[in-house]
Amino acid sequence: MSSSGFTRRHFLRVSAIAGGGLLVACGGGGSKRRDNRDSSDGGEASDAQQFAVGEFLRLSSDGRVHILVGASEIGQGALTAMPMIVAEELDADWSRVTAEHSPVAAQFNNPYFGSLLQFTVASATTRGYFSAQRQVGAAVRQMLIAAAADRWQTTPSSLRTANGFVFDDANGRSASYGELAEDAAQQPIPENPPLKDPSQYTIIGQSKQRIDAAEKVNGSHQYGIDVDIPDMLTAVIARPPRFFGQPQSVDSNAALAVPGVREVHNIPSGVAVVADDYWSAEKGRKALEVSWNELLAGRTDSAATRGEYTGKLDLPGLPIRVDGLVPVAQLAAAENRSADYFFPFQAHAAMEPLNVTVNYTGSSAEIWTGSQSPTIDKLFAAAILGLPPEQVDFHTMSSGGGFGRRGNTLSDYVRDACHVAKASQQPVKVMWTREDDMKGGYYRPAAAVRVAAALDNQGNITAWSHRAVTQDVTASLYIEEQLDAIAEMELPPLQELTDLETGMPYDIENVLMDAHLTIKPEMPALWMRSVNKFTDVFAQETFIDDIALRYSRDPYQYRRDMLTSKPRHLAVLDAAAQAANWGAASAGRSQGIAVLGHWMSYVAQVVELSVSEDREITIHRIVSAVDVGTAVNPDLVVAQVESAVIFALTSVFYGEIELRDGVVQQSNFDDYQMLRMYQTPPIDTVVLPSEEAPGGVGELGVPALGPALANAILAATGETIRELPLKNLGYTLAPQHRA
């Protein structure tokens, strides 16, 4: 983000708070519009309202700094990294900094998405908020210095700050931020406060402990599922066996006879059983007899989808990148090679199943849920409950994992819960079981990819083509009639979020990338960690090795030769190769490498493995080298890469949701497996030093891992991997430590 100074919507208001201390609020006042940009609309807001909506940072008279974070904590460390950025420019005492989720309000929208909404997807938190967070910290610091200068009758330029104090070195004086806060609040707000040079950083670049670590080890951290409000009931929803089936007839007698069951309600997505507690609700649901009208039900079938997508690979798609003249180069080529790939549906399977608590009073509502998309969720909730958005108090809870599932622009699970709350008129928590979560749709969509290369007789690539066929996970948003409810809302360019590959980095003169984005409203699909990069990069990076092998080129050197004009790609490639001792694997072991640049970040990964005769794979080591620009908290970066490696291994070995005639076949962790401790290989991560702008981190480690692993299998066995998951090809993953 290049924005300098505060945008109109982000300007600051600073005020003193009772008993000393200082409150920084953003936005408010000025032009008001009745849309999502300013939820304080609706007449002159009282001080209390403005306080609740606009509060961003509170500096207490005892020196504590409390920061509200507009991004959602989904495990990636947003509640730690965001405050670090503010604290750096503020020169706060980090040990006295605390943080929590902000309210859902325009002031907290992510600049990456044009400051249109709070949306924790696309690895956009740090890179989106970085600049604005620094400016707030720097402005408050200037005001504290000005207050001290007034107090000491000296010039601000003679003062310095560190660790929550202003120092007057010449006169041997100092004052704490807490002491100065009240006076600072009276100072004019600087418009373009100077920002630190990276060489001056004392917090950014440090591997600080996570702010939420203590609560996450003693059971006290509150997730949505832990919310408990007075008189709360618990509901589960019986859903149709096929997506978008409708309840036709419901016999609720047996369900209502279950002790603890209070009510049964038809809602658009199914039949809700509302009870005193979860166990009664679940028993009630089992006793419920529902026949489903399946006239409009989805009949997606995995095998049929594969056939359809494979057929579409023969048809030109919508061009998304065109360099040079691919057809001409193909005619002139010594050889043309191509390969087709297929990837199945996958479930996000976050550890915390979906859940939403709603307290609906008729004239207002409070909602608690783990969400990556609280702005849109709140608008849908307001529409369903028939309330102005200002009357919906939406509490973004920490998520027990998200991976994209909690960033649904259709707000499916929030809408369900609001329908239940509206029908029940009582405080209610709507729970999803693991089976509900696994079978409930919004999967990573299936995809087919064809890559083709034109080659000269040395194996140099003269033309590259890449065709993707997959479901447009954003399409449903544009055709849903419920969109009327949020029609005034401006949406960011969602096409960017599909992450269709256009960034193929190699120095190839002729490139044609095209795509078929299918629209299947009957099949709920959604982005999942790294979106289409997972499939596109798998095809691209395995096909590079296919060519390298055929022309006896070393896959690492082959890539190097094509990356001479891409220094950041080259640097991570070299760093990964060096850290992994590329080319020096011991006997019986093979290595594979892959590289990727996206989200303003770069990664190369090396997998070293061996394959037994019965196709059991032992992974000896995985090395990642990343360049994420400025690493705000390097240990959080390493943690995210480790996380992505394990997430990718699960996808590559096991990840498949299979639909047969519209019915999802998987239900829980027995038939939808996760990588476990005994299968986890040694994982090493190198973070390259950089002062570039921060790039995205959360998804970075996912897409290149699969191709690096498949390339190692190719090196070991000569077998090309053209579909996932590997379990379907007879591969198993060996235990790491045998008896």
Partner: protein, 152 residues
């Protein structure tokens, strides 16, 4: 009516005999540190100690929990090893989303209580019933080794 001994105190609850211990802890006793993840003893998020043994509370009917000593993550810091585990978890930034970590900590505490210098294979056996979708396994392994080698 069932009387269960949780974290050193007796609690009498009026619930059906088949209500799982997990939901009695979470809903009746308001001890929400133990998490629901799968309901079928497949993921370990609900792990508590029953007479010191790591146990999946999501499949243990409350009727079977009577006359046992049940301990949850909320009081694991009363136990020296539990405290060491919590501290190492923080120092190594183990938790990410954190949702599975109550179960991981209960499993790790039970392991280190039984075995003060677990091998990698011991760790695999004790910890592989606990799924972490964030992939914190390498740090969990490191934390267990660190405690064993430096503090036990």
């Amino acid at each position: 009516m069932f009387t269960i001994r949780v974290n050193g105190e007796d609690h009498t609850v009026d619930v059906p005999a088949d209500k799982p211990l997990l939901w009695v802890l979470r809903e009746n006793l308001k001890l929400t540190g133990s998490k629901y993840g799968c309901g079928q003893a497949l993921c370990g998020a609900c792990t508590v100690h029953v007479d010191g043994q790591p146990t999946r509370a999501c499949v243990m009917p409350v009727s079977a929990a009577e006359n046992h000593d049940i301990k949850t993550v909320e009081v694991i810091d009363r136990d020296r090893i539990g405290r060491l585990v919590q501290t190492a978890w923080q120092e190594l930034n183990v938790p990410q989303c954190g949702y599975c970590q109550s179960g991981q900590i209960m499993a790790a505490t039970a392991l280190l209580t039984e075995n003060r210098s677990p091998s990698d294979r011991d760790i695999d056996e004790a910890m592989s019933g606990n799924i972490c979708r964030c992939g914190t396994y390498p740090r969990i392994r490191k934390a267990i080794h660190k405690i064993a080698s430096e503090q036990l």
